[in-house]
């Protein structure tokens, strides 16, 4: 007897932990496991952890159609190579698909995690009925994935989709990438919280103070969100401003690519309706007239399990 022979395995490879899911062809998570990445012990140790997690999901004679892996940084999806992923020191270039194919005798698909998130939304989520869309992930970094006519757009060297490093103000705040005014330098979690931390002094009546126990180290997007929901004017202005700026960057993409559907996920998307409304308002205000009425900005559907589901979707997408 075999089980789940239409199911797939999705692996979300991170610097701290590796998350694994057994996922149905419809995108339901049937089982989950996780492993510490053991990144400091080098790539061989990480690979062993990957194998170990998959073996656990495959015990009890579970059979799957294939295994998908979402990995940070540069991924050569065609060759299945993960290159120098940030937070996995000493990695270099490793053909993960070859190693796992040998171990499990399954089809292996590897993709950059931002592209995996976009494919995940296309296959299982908010992009199911869309032909083309931009996927934006608002996390520590601001990631992007471009879907054009139901295909992920990877570009010449596989690096396409870096929405986070589009400039909205050439004189703007410095970004870790070396440029200025990248949308990531406004909306990336650390940039955003640092900006609020340094700005908060001028808003002494803000509810945020109480919510962080008067300790700026406790400041998170969730706290800002809570304060805004409690009616805090400053918190509301922070979210509105973030959405407005996001809308500026979105309008540039819409004009360049004739894309009018945008899916937004990641932690900062938890700012919710206020963020989406202000992003839509500013994008519509700025975009070319011929596209104006078509602009839709949707919340991602995969949310918390985006990593596992995005990785799983690679098998369904490539099937």
């Amino acid at each position: 007897m075999t089980k789940h022979d239409k199911a797939v395995i999705g692996i979300d490879l991170g610097g701290t932990s590796i998350k694994f899911g057994l996922v149905s062809a419809e995108g339901n998570i049937l089982a989950k496991v996780s492993r510490p990445s053991n990144a400091s012990q080098g790539p061989d140790a990480v690979i062993e952890q990957i194998k170990s997690g998959v073996h656990e999901l495959l015990k009890d004679d579970v059979r799957v159609k294939g295994i998908g892996i979402g990995a940070p940084g540069i991924v050569n999806a065609k060759k299945g190579i993960v290159e120098n992923p940030p937070n996995l020191p000493g990695w270099g270039k490793i053909c993960v698909s070859k190693i796992l194919e040998k171990e499990f005798d399954k089809k292996i698909f590897v993709e950059n995690d931002a592209n995996a998130a976009a494919i995940g939304e296309m296959v299982f989520g908010a992009g199911k009925d869309l032909t083309s869309f931009l996927m934006v992930t608002l996390g520590t970094g601001v990631g992007g994935g471009i879907v054009i006519k139901k295909k992920i757009f990877r570009g010449d060297s596989g690096a396409a989709g870096e929405f986070g490093h589009m400039t909205i103000d050439f004189n703007g705040p410095k970004c870790n990438c070396g440029s200025r005014g990248c949308i990531e330098a406004y909306l990336g979690i650390n940039y955003l919280t640092q900006h609020v931390a340094s700005d908060l002094g001028r808003h002494s009546s803000s509810k945020i103070f109480e919510l962080i126990d008067y300790n700026l180290d406790n400041l998170t997007p969730l706290i800002i969100s809570k304060a805004a929901k409690a009616g805090d004017e400053y918190a509301i202005s922070v979210i509105t401003d973030a959405g407005t700026k996001l809308g500026y960057a979105i309008s540039s993409v819409c004009n360049l690519l004739d894309i009018t559907s945008i899916i937004v996920g990641g932690g900062v998307a938890g700012f919710g309706q206020l963020l989406f409304d202000s992003a839509k308002a500013s994008a519509k205000e700025r975009v070319l007239k011929s596209l104006r009425d078509k602009i839709t900005i949707l919340p991602a559907k995969l949310s918390n399990e985006a990593g596992i589901l995005g990785a799983s979707s690679l098998v369904v997408y490539n099937d």
Copy 2:
């Protein structure tokens, strides 16, 4: 006896004049004619002028493979429809390809003029050996065309490529499109000359004054270029600044699309090496590290005849 049966006809449809070229399969112009557009007399009059120009090129038993038309504004290339072109009042939607097919019994290809310029460079010009590139046309407007893996990228509704309306400063100068800080609002000819005109008072020793006969109405990009070549510091700073800003917008496109080759044409590209050097320097400074060493910014090759050659190239491209 028939002549030129491998040649094509290219038509550059403008609001003031229509230019026609008989062009060899290699991109050499064998004959040229032009007609006033007669735009104020409405679309039928314009169509008659198009027919008249083509008939002139086809006299003496000249046979051609097909006819390409580059038109301003929105073009449905698949259906051969030109929609509400700016400067051609009362046009509405006209299926130009059907009308001309009936008249000439030839294959007709219609394309937006910015895309035609990109295809022209791909088929006959600086893009011959490139797989993917961004074509930028610096004219009255700032146009763009995207070539991905040897194909023009039109987007979902055919409106893709609006490079000119990417924002580089959300607080920047107002653009005619309704947005702010679009690259067109800095580099479009009227924006650029107006900016220089209002700035010139602070540069009383500039050679520009003499070159324009102390009349600001005479200010053109060519004058600024001449002053810069004569060593005028202010004129040099204008061109360097234009190139630097162009580089900012280019770096956003490179990051988003993983494109590293950019071809720049149009009148303002006549600023020459100084413009190209500063654009390249700022794009390289701003683009993501993985793309930095690959950035090349090339001058367009079709220059003066870009309109006719771009339109002609449509026949070769679609063949």
